[in-house]
Symmetry: C2
Subunit: 336 residues, 2 copies
């Protein structure tokens, strides 16, 4: 059963996906339960073990599909599926809808034992190209309101397989966190007639106290109100609402900046688990003037505890200015 | 340095607390780093190791302070402190204020090696009384807008000391999650002229598919749109906006229900880490008609991954109806 349900007070949606395995209590999971390379469905030669692929990026440009560099396949335990009609209904005072959408896995490399941050920039660019291509394709489905691309790196950050991969979920509603950003950006635009992210960029690139790295098209910053130690945000310097609008030159530049950010976490923070997620404007949304796509990057150093859950109020022991200084040093050291 | 900073897009506040220790990468923390009972500052005899206590609940009623049953002390690494003026200022386009408030620890028992769920109901009642008493006291400070009581049980859930304890943070702004609940509850009230939580209670107690337990004054439910497997919510059956309004008979009843909920998680889920947090109306708020206090209880079985962070959209593999059935069975078995 796949069903979307809405909380009547907080108005957020959850996916009740009873076909997915219920997680074991984390502190009881043993090392044996991790799947090693012998049984890895993402390695070259095991292509038949995944659901049928929806995209293949070959190593060499041209019509030859072998050898592959990046593959995109449906998730084996999807949170949402593309079959079926989008049906909304009520249960007394509650609201629900059918679990229509998509849930895909981006296999980032045929190599099993390599960190994302150690991939060549050209490989990261192919991964980003796959993100963009799938986002465009799924945006054509009229039932889809949002496409979210994200990466869970390391088991603590939610990854259940070792082989480098990221994921994509296409949803029939705009997710709450994105809605909050849209509404914050819209109210700023209404007041100032300027994009809030463009203003952040211009202040940050002038003061430079929270700049980790800068490239022709992108800036990597620590947010002024960072929730977590070493949290980063990667933004295009020119206003752009959609990740899918990125041009080819921009994508190569982005690949280097994203790789550098992940590599800096690895060297500066002793290879921590981390997440990144692409925040882009919703499909067919009118937010083009005031929304500005970006990638949030969060090393998972601290646990989320009761206070954070209960309040949405975060305690960060690391001033973002200090984090930016250290990350900038690590990035400079990695690019001599 | 303690400073509150506001995110200009999402409008949430974070506390930058650079005096607190930066957490180690979780997967590198070794067992030795856990402090055992020999060095525990919360045990009887080590009272001098904590900051000066702000409340002591003695074992026996009366003027005799020894032996103590529950102590409340300031946190040694406070996220907010009571000294100083509340000062708001701007930094270019950004907003910040001084980190004024309170951060206290409720030591739930003098015993080191006992689970909260195994405490006698009378002891849990004393803990709840301490919550209520501190909430009332801190609400008198005109700088305080909110008092949040929460418990992190187990290291995965954020606890850094083994000895049973909970915490309280008093903040000079209403936290974002509470603000969301207030605004959702207010819009429902504007539309229906009824409290949304009262309506949830009446539907749930009629259909009974998500009821885990019921007592004279309280109902323990799994939410219709539960974010996590076995997530629970404990609500007073009669409309009540403030936790601090609870009467003596109600508090004893609440103690049993909360203990039973924690005990059911322990038996049903193999002693998982968990959090609970008390959501009550803000201090001096006009939400009395439409807000309804409650306790959120969340076993920490699954990790929060990139999708959840990026979207605020949760995937729950356990239908709350099935979770309620299992929890109700465990609670019934524990109360023969």
């Amino acid at each position: 059963m796949l069903e979307l349900r809405k909380d009547p007070v907080q108005k957020r949606w959850v996916i009740i996906a009873s076909d997915r395995p219920v997680p074991q209590t984390e502190h009881r999971v043993s090392e044996e339960q991790r799947r090693g390379r012998e049984h890895c469905p993402f390695c070259t030669g095991s292509e038949a073990q995944t659901p049928r692929e929806v995209l293949r990026v070959p190593v060499a440009a041209g019509p030859e599909p072998e050898p592959w560099a990046v593959r995109v396949v449906p998730n084996r335990f999807p949170a949402l599926v593309s079959e079926g009609k989008l049906k909304k209904s009520g249960v007394g005072m509650y609201d629900r809808m059918t679990g229509v959408g998509a849930h895909e896995v981006i296999i980032e490399t045929p190599q099993h034992d390599v960190a994302f941050s150690e991939l060549p920039v050209e490989q990261v660019e192919k991964v980003l190209w796959a993100y963009r291509s799938r986002t465009e394709e799924l945006s054509r489905d009229p039932r889809i309101k949002y496409v979210l691309v994200f990466k869970n790196n390391g088991r603590v950050a939610g990854a259940s397989l070792e082989h480098p991969h990221s994921q994509l979920i296409a949803t029939p509603v705009v997710p709450r966190r994105v809605h909050e950003e849209l509404s914050g950006a819209e109210s700023y635009f209404t007041y100032k007639e300027r994009c809030v992210y463009c203003d952040i960029l211009s202040q940050e690139l002038a003061t430079r106290v929270r700049v980790c790295a800068e490239s022709p098209h992108f800036a990597l910053l620590t947010p002024f109100a960072a929730r977590f130690p070493y949290e980063m945000v990667l933004l295009p310097k020119e206003h752009q609402a959609d990740f899918a609008q990125t041009g080819v030159g921009q994508l190569a530049d982005l690949a280097r900046m994203l790789r550098d950010a992940c590599r800096a976490m690895r060297s500066q923070l002793d290879d921590p688990p981390y997440n990144f997620m692409v925040h882009t404007a919703p499909v067919h949304h009118t937010a083009r003037d005031y929304y500005h796509w970006h990638i949030e990057i969060i090393p998972r150093l601290s646990r989320i505890a009761g206070f954070e859950w209960g309040s949405g109020f975060y305690i960060n022991p690391m001033p973002p200015e200090e984090a930016a200084r250290r990350l900038a040093e690590a990035i400079a050291a990695g690019n001599p």
